[in-house]
């Protein structure tokens, strides 16, 4: 395999390059003029609410859909070309051949990626052993529990030792044990230099795993880049105030969101608003302030600022916070 396809293409240092990519289904604009570059070796998160165009973007990267406009470059080659044999793609809606034997199913998935049956079988057995499914190899897939079928799906995705993993909402529908298994596999591949791109609508997952993210909403890119840098750039935003007393002072603040915390509130200020003004507002309202801190915005708050409360709410509010309503 690796002789046929040099693992590092000198033409490009990015695993994926999207240039002005647009895809429309009938009157529905799924992806609009998207530019995206995913560096090799990174763990990259494609973030956005449901229906924002994540799956369509991934399908275009895999060459399953052709963009109406723009260019997709995958591992330095055409998407839809032989480059995709070096990719492990786990779609959101992932299936199995229920009537096949586990080992036969995996052999077939290896075979269509150009592996010989013997090698595919050997690798499949190694993986089945690693995930504790060795004695199920000769069973029909439909005889396995849902959790075991999920493991078989991961194995099918990584069987050919891809240099690039694309996982569409990989954690959705997984039981907690398999979430950990998959996370371990992902970290393991990352440690060996594999590029990983995954889509999620859950900020918390992206924050936990990703080095870089691209946030899309309503078919358009909102922002992208290194997660740490994004947070630093957005630093001005959030203030945590612990206080006792009346909440009336919160009305009329220049805030995007105000959330109730255990001892007070967490306020996401609008761009350009001065945190000191907020402190003054609290003091002049006469509330007893016990703490005042400028904090890193959570991903959710970054989201709210860029895609709006509604879309961000769809994506799930991080636990521990309760929204007190939108901007006043």
């Amino acid at each position: 395999m690796s002789d046929l396809f040099p693992s590092h293409s000198p033409a490009s240092d990015s695993a994926v390059l999207l240039e002005g990519v647009t895809k429309q289904f009938g009157s529905h604009l799924a992806v609009s003029n998207l530019d995206l570059e995913i560096p090799r070796g990174s763990i990259y998160g494609l973030l956005g609410p449901n229906g924002s165009g994540k799956t369509t973007t991934l399908r275009m990267i895999m060459g399953i859909l052709r963009p109406d406009r723009g260019r997709v470059t995958l591992l330095g080659g055409d998407s839809g070309g032989p480059a995709r044999l070096r990719v492990g793609y786990l779609p959101e809606e992932r299936g199995v051949y229920k009537k096949m034997k586990v080992i036969g199913h995996l052999e077939f998935l290896g075979e269509i990626r150009g592996m010989t049956r013997a090698i595919a079988r050997q690798r499949a057995m190694t993986w089945l052993e690693r995930l504790g499914l060795a004695e199920w190899a000769a069973k029909k897939v439909e005889d396995l529990s849902k959790g075991m079928q999920q493991k078989v799906q991961f194995i099918g995705t990584v069987l050919h030792d891809p240099e690039f993993l694309i996982l569409d909402e990989p954690f959705s529908g997984l039981d907690p044990i398999n979430q950990d298994v998959l996370e371990e596999i992902v970290r393991d591949f990352h440690a060996r230099g594999t590029t990983i791109l995954f889509s999620t609508h859950l900020m918390e997952q992206a924050e936990r795993l990703c080095g870089s993210v691209c946030l899309i909403s309503k078919a358009e890119k909102v922002l992208d880049g290194n997660l740490r840098e994004i947070k630093r750039r957005e630093r001005s935003g959030a203030v945590a105030v612990d206080y006792e007393g009346d909440d009336a002072w919160l009305d009329g603040l220049g805030a995007d969101t105000i959330e109730r915390t255990q001892h007070g509130v967490r306020v996401l200020l609008r761009d350009g608003e001065d945190p000191q003004a907020l402190l003054q507002a609290a003091v002049s309202a006469g509330v007893k302030s016990r703490g005042f801190e400028i904090v890193e915005p959570t991903h959710h708050e970054v989201d709210v600022r860029h895609v709006g409360e509604e879309a961000a709410a769809e994506a799930g509010v991080p636990s521990g916070y309760k929204s007190m309503g939108g901007a006043a």
Binding site: G63, L65, E93, G95, M100, L109
Partner: protein
Amino acid sequence: MKVVMAVIRREYLQRVRNKWFVFGTVAGPLFMIAIFAIPIALELRDEARDRVIVIMDRTDALYEGVASRLGETIDVERVEFTEGAEALLDSRIESGEISGFLVLDENTLSEGRAVFRGRETPSTLRRVWVRRAVVESALEVRLGEASGAAGARLLLEGGEVDFQTLDGEGADEADRDAALIIGFAGAFMLYMTLLIYGIQVMRAVLEEKTTRIVEIIISVVRPGQLMLGKILGVGAVGLTQLGIWVLSGALLSTFGLPYLLALRPELLELGNALEFLPQAGALGLFLVFFVLGYFLFSSLYAAAAAMCSSDEEAQQTQVPVTILLIVPMMVLAPIIENPHGPLGTWLSMVPFFSPILMFPRYMAGAPLWQVATSLFLMVITIAGVAWVAGRIYRVGILMQGKRPTLPEIVRWVREA
């Protein structure tokens, strides 16, 4: 191409290993063979027990006739009538040396009656043989007294009427009937196999779509390759099944039938069935029509399946495709009645109807240029249908939910 092979291989092995395929393919012919073989086996067992039949002819006129008629299947021995001969024969039966003896006398000549004595009643078959041999021999002798024995023998063999037509060709009606029957049976088999395997392709496509495995597959395999692989895989299963049946049928008629006839000459009628077996040319054309018809219809069924998200939807969507198969079946009877009338000539040229209608017309002697034209039109149509079906398939297999409307399908085909 390697990828297509992998798809074909999976599709083929999955189906061929299925216990219903094995049952349907192997058990079918085995069952047919068993129907023939079990009585033969029983006869053979009897044969070992039923040894020589002794014939005691008190008329001195019947022995030659009976012996020659029985001789093919049963060993006979002649014994003169003497006092005490019967007792002697009884003891030979006791010892198992002979299976019994037949006494022919004046009653036999006048009324066709005779007596057979044995340890046990012979098998039904033997009773029929013996009775027929006795009666025919008696008839021959009685007729021979009136005219010549040779003339009587010809009459006993059944005679022959030569059917001639006005155009003087002396067309062999038996051959023509055989051709028409082959044509009808072939059309029916084409209908059945195209329907069965077309529906199988539909199910195969639908299964991949509803289980969502298809997205993983087409992230590596081009949709066109996947569709082609599935069609070829299922088609190979169909050819395997047809092949096994044709082969076992051929073996049965080449080796089984003569053997059977040797054992049971009264089944001679079966031998005539051999002339109803198609010749190599007809068999070849049958295969061509199957293959072309299969490509045409399996593409349509694949496209129909790609539009649907559930079995129920697919049941409705396949109706228009299946109607294309049913229409020729509905006009088959009138067309076989009048193969070269305008109805038959024109409908058999419609590519979707050709597989079922042109084969029987060929058997009924349609001009070769018409057969060739229908084949040519089918190939063109297959190319067009495969192109459209491929586009519907490419878009459809990723669509979930509501079935597309006609304008949406047109858009799929245009934009895919």
